[in-house]
């Protein structure tokens, strides 16, 4: 059917884990995308995979710089890049999409607004309270471990808040087709406000929202993980055909 088409550019995917987490949460997703023929990198964000004491010293710019560095390096070998991420990794992906050319964005439960009410006073709180209990392993399926920190440094939580504000403000400048996976029950990104911010402000034309009815926040390790893998792969394949979905309709299968 596509014998006479010019070959699609090779597609690279930058896929980031979330706040206090590690690539463990996104490795199965990365493997699934590699099996589809995409080149996938899963950067380890600064302050992660070491200790919460280390994380407490980091600014959100360091996380973004690491995501962007992975993007630049991947761009040297791939003709087109998709920005992807879980949770705060998704926030980084959206911020990148507002600054750099990407062919698509696919994210899972990204925060653009912090729901935790303590975040309102994080600037002051971080001087008084060093850490709060971790947000790890919000997963409905038993027996999963995302390998994240047991404690969240408040200073880092403050940095996360600043990142979400910057990313939300940047949304109008992002134009690539966007796919958002959203768990119907999420104990970390608890409200609909982040998704509403995306729908209200995203600069692109196409936003696809896929509800995950059987997962919590770390959906990439949860019951709906296969849905994420299959639908993101289909989404990315659709991008390389020029316009998401349009090729399906025209080929009249």
């Amino acid at each position: 059917m596509h014998a006479m088409d010019t070959p699609s550019p090779s597609i690279g995917v930058v896929l980031s884990h979330g706040f206090t987490g590690s690539p463990t949460a996104v490795e199965p997703w990365a493997e699934a995308l590699r099996a589809e023929g995409f080149t996938v990198v899963t950067p380890l964000l600064p302050g992660h995979g070491t200790s919460w004491e280390d994380l407490a010293t980091r600014s959100w710019h360091e996380w973004y710089d690491a995501y962007e560095a992975a993007y630049r390096e991947l761009s040297r070998e791939c003709g087109a890049i998709v920005a992807a991420g879980l949770s705060m990794g998704g926030t980084l992906a959206l911020r990148l999409a507002s600054r750099e050319p990407v062919v698509g964005v696919t994210v899972v439960n990204p925060p653009l607004v912090v729901d935790d009410p303590r975040s309102h006073v994080s600037g002051v709180l971080r001087r008084a309270v060093r850490t709060v209990p971790g947000i790890l392993n919000d997963i409905k399926r038993p027996g999963q471990d995302e390998n994240a920190y047991e404690r969240v440094p408040v200073a880092a939580g403050h940095e996360l808040k600043l990142l979400t504000r910057d990313a939300a403000a940047s949304l109008p400048r992002a134009t690539a087709p966007l796919q958002v996976f959203r768990s119907t029950v999420d104990h970390v990104v608890t409200s609909g406000r982040s998704l509403a911010a995306i729908v209200r402000r995203y600069g692109g034309t196409d936003i696809r929202i896929v509800r995950l009815p059987n997962s919590y926040h770390v959906a990439t390790l949860d019951y709906d993980a296969e849905t994420i893998f299959a639908e993101s792969a289909a989404f990315i394949h659709g991008l390389s055909q020029g316009a998401a979905g349009r090729a399906d309709a025209r080929s009249g299968a």
Partner: protein, 238 residues
């Protein structure tokens, strides 16, 4: 395909015609009280509007394999309401409304008893009416009250909407606030929702510069819905 409040079929005709050209069998019911005179609109109840749309659904369902629901503005709300009550294979709405910007609507229950009408529902830069759409130079407040009742009923029914949903949303829509679409997205149970942002359109986007984009995306979306086996199960109520 459902037109909007105090509007007529011409507002959605380019959309309907485009889908007909793509091979769909399209019905665009004229809602009771519309297309004639504002005095005719005055006595109408929201169930008459929803009912007229559902009758059109019945007719189409009897002669086709898969039914899709579509609508502009209030017509979008009516399409969603129908999709909550009967199986459909997919839904497409343009600037769907569940509420107004105008604060006076909050007190419409009392206002309508002292004031019979208000000005026409209008936005600057709205496309010129095509043909004779009837005299809607005034809007009966009683009808606005019914519209509010309709919005409440639709809001209650949203959790029963499960079909794939495509929503077009103009960046600059002076009639329907962004909260309407956000509420719809938060409450429907559809597994797949697509939002197409229209950067160059006003409220009646179906008759604006991006009208052809709306047609193209709707046709492609409905085609994808038709190919999806779970959509077929959805559509026949299995």
């Amino acid at each position: 395909m459902c037109h909007g409040f105090s509007g007529t079929r011409s507002s959605v005709m380019p959309w309907a015609d485009g889908l007909a050209e793509a091979g769909f069998d399209v019905e665009v019911p004229l809602l009771p009280g519309h297309g004639t005179d504002w005095r005719d609109l005055e006595g109408r109840r929201w169930r008459e509007w929803a009912g007229a749309y559902e009758e059109a659904c019945e007719r189409l369902a009897a002669r086709t394999d898969l039914l899709f629901a579509a609508g502009l503005s209030m017509g979008g709300a009516i399409a969603l309401h129908a999709a909550a009550r009967r199986p459909v294979a997919g839904i497409a709405v343009v600037n769907p409304g569940l509420g107004f910007y105008d604060w006076r609507v909050r007190y419409i229950g009392a206002f309508r008893l002292v004031q019979r009408t208000t000005g026409p529902i209008e936005e600057e830069g709205a496309p010129e009416p095509v043909g004779d759409e009837g005299d809607y130079s005034l809007t009966p407040l009683a009808a606005v009250h019914e519209l509010k009742r309709l919005f409440r009923a639709v809001d209650r029914s949203l959790p029963r909407v499960t079909a794939p949903l495509l929503a077009f949303r103009s960046d600059a829509d002076p009639v329907v606030p962004p909260s309407s679409l956000e509420r719809i997205l938060a409450r429907v149970r559809s597994t797949h929702v697509e939002v197409v942002r229209l950067h160059r359109s006003a409220h009646v986007a179906t008759r604006g510069a991006e009208g052809p984009l709306i047609v193209e995306r709707t046709a492609a979306f409905f085609a994808r819905c038709a190919q999806d086996p779970s959509a077929r199960r959805n559509a026949i109520g299995a």
